[in-house]
């Protein structure tokens, strides 16, 4: 599997951005950008053109669902993985129904998170190739 070289993490919580970025580095992602809210995230997406976006659902200023709409507006093929918690899982399931978006729970164990991301990215590569 060829890991995407550039990823963007959009989450208002510092510890989540740090944790996810370490997970991404451990699976071979080389460049990681971070944004602390949805609006800044959309800007960062336009500027950086990342291969992969990890997007929090519940954020101030602009929530994840709306941010997703904006990013999709910029690039209909954008690969976005929603970062959810227990309470937001159903929101995203409903909102992203039918889309190519995946979701992972932020409190997932590291090994599982690595496995999930590896699987998701392998799937994405398959679609591309």
């Amino acid at each position: 599997m060829i890991p995407p070289s550039k990823a963007l993490i959009i989450d208002d919580e510092n510890h989540i951005r740090k944790y996810i970025s370490l997970v991404l580095r451990s699976i071979g992602v080389t460049t990681i950008c971070e944004a602390t809210n949805g609006a800044k995230g959309v800007e960062a997406y336009a500027r950086e053109q990342p291969d992969l976006v990890l997007l929090d659902v519940n954020m101030p200023v602009m929530d994840g669902i709306e941010t997703l709409r904006h990013i999709r507006g910029l690039n209909a093929q954008a690969c976005v993985i929603m970062l959810t918690s227990l309470s937001t899982r159903h929101t995203i399931e409903a909102a992203a129904d039918g889309g190519a978006v995946h979701y992972i729970r932020k409190d997932t164990q590291r090994d599982e998170l690595v496995a999930l991301l590896t699987d998701l990215l392998a799937e994405k590569n398959q679609i591309i190739n």
Partner: protein, 393 residues
């Protein structure tokens, strides 16, 4: 004569008890003889009661709706409907809300008295009556009614407060969960050298952080599960599956943790068991919980036996988990499957525990219409059994 001094402590100042005062309560007097009604009225009004009168059962039923009495004094022998019939009709119309009905009658046969109570009466007073007795009985019945209403209000308030508390608990646990999971994850990155090498002392601290946050994540998960169940939001997504496969998976996973305590988990099942309709994740949670408890409470180096059998006679599957722990003290057995029912028995390696695990298990098993039980073994240790019935789908 020697005067004795009362040494008893003074009674505590009484809080106002809304059900103590019965003055101002409304009583409906039903008798076909005006004279009898007048006697009753003259007896009750000085006591502070408000009265209304009816000369027949039919009139009483009509008055009842508008007057809304707190108690009915009802003669039995009436023109038209008799008192018993009127009492039954009141209960049919107003159910549990019906005001207490006291029969007051000259009809003194034992059968009649029984029928009066049968019809829903709370008391039966024979004419001629002693005024003080009737007043005392009325007072008692009114108090009981007021007390009941008061109690219902309290129960409703308590149940509201309780669900508010549960919501709060759920929110608190929920907000703790992600940061804790991050602390755990970040400490793991420190431990594996991702951010540079650690000195042995730093490594020890990072390990402590990792273990402690892992323990806290488990506790918070328990709290969340419990809050979900308490809020009545436990939903089963059942499907047909093979329990032996599910148990085998759980045994493999917990087996890894058990190895750290040199504990082995053996799983025996005779032949493939028929598939059963259960919620996979929830059933797995029960099995995981029983296994990790067995490891927690058994001394290092123990063997834990897991068995699965099909109880043909009762059409159910039985999962047995037998540990080599100290067993459950008899006097604590009743608390075993209750909320926060932590026992005096402690985990043998200081593993954390909320005391919610088994309560959650019980709720999950019961939502599958099954039962969970525990029994000390004569040879030592304890056996936990989960009995899951086959349900017609």
């Amino acid at each position: 004569m020697l005067e004795t001094k009362d040494l008893r402590p003074p009674p505590p100042a009484e809080a106002p008890l809304p059900w103590r005062e019965t003055r101002g309560r409304k009583i409906l007097l039903v008798d076909d003889e005006r004279g009898n009604r007048t006697i009753l009225r003259q007896m009750l009004e000085p006591e502070g009661y408000v009265t209304a009168e009816a000369e027949s059962a039919e009139a009483a039923l009509e008055h009842y709706a508008t007057f809304a009495p707190d108690l009915v004094l009802l003669d039995v022998l009436l023109p038209g409907l008799n008192g018993f019939e009127a009492c039954r009709e009141l209960h049919r119309r107003y159910g549990a809300q019906t005001a207490p009905v006291m029969f007051i009658t000259a009809k003194r046969e034992a059968d009649a008295i029984v029928e009066g109570f049968d019809a829903g009466g709370v008391d039966y007073v024979l004419k001629p009556f002693r005024q003080k007795e009737v007043v005392a009985r009325i007072h008692t019945h009114l108090q009981v009614r007021l007390l009941l209403a008061h109690q219902q209000t309290l129960v409703a308030q308590l149940s509201q407060a309780n669900s508010a508390k549960n919501r709060f608990l759920g929110m608190a646990a929920h907000d703790l969960r992600n940061p804790l999971a991050s602390i755990r994850g970040l400490s793991e990155f420190m431990l594996d050298g991702t951010v540079g090498p650690l000195t042995p002392a730093q490594d020890e601290l990072a390990q402590l952080i990792q273990q402690t946050s892992q323990g806290m994540v488990t506790l918070v998960n328990d709290l969340l599960d419990w809050a979900t169940i308490e809020a009545g939001e436990l939903k089963l997504e059942s499907k047909l599956l093979r329990l032996d496969e599910l148990v085998a998976k759980a045994v493999r996973l917990t087996g890894l943790t058990a190895l750290r305590k040199q504990t082995r988990i053996e799983f025996n099942h005779a032949r493939p068991v028929p598939r059963i309709r259960v919620d996979e994740a929830k059933t797995r949670q029960v099995i995981d919980n029983l296994l990790s408890n067995a490891v927690k409470y058994s001394p290092p180096g123990s063997t834990i036996c897991v068995a699965l059998e099909f109880d043909q006679a009762n059409q159910r599957q039985i999962i047995r988990v037998r540990d080599q722990g100290p067993g459950i003290p008899d006097e604590e057995r009743a608390r075993l499957f209750t909320d926060f029912g932590r026992l005096s028995t402690r985990p043998t390696s200081g593993e954390p525990s909320t005391g919610l695990g088994l309560a959650i298990c019980r709720k999950i098993v019961e939502s599958h219409h099954g039962t969970i039980e525990a029994e000390n073994q004569p040879a030592g240790g304890c056996e936990f059994r989960v009995l899951l019935p086959y349900l017609p789908s």
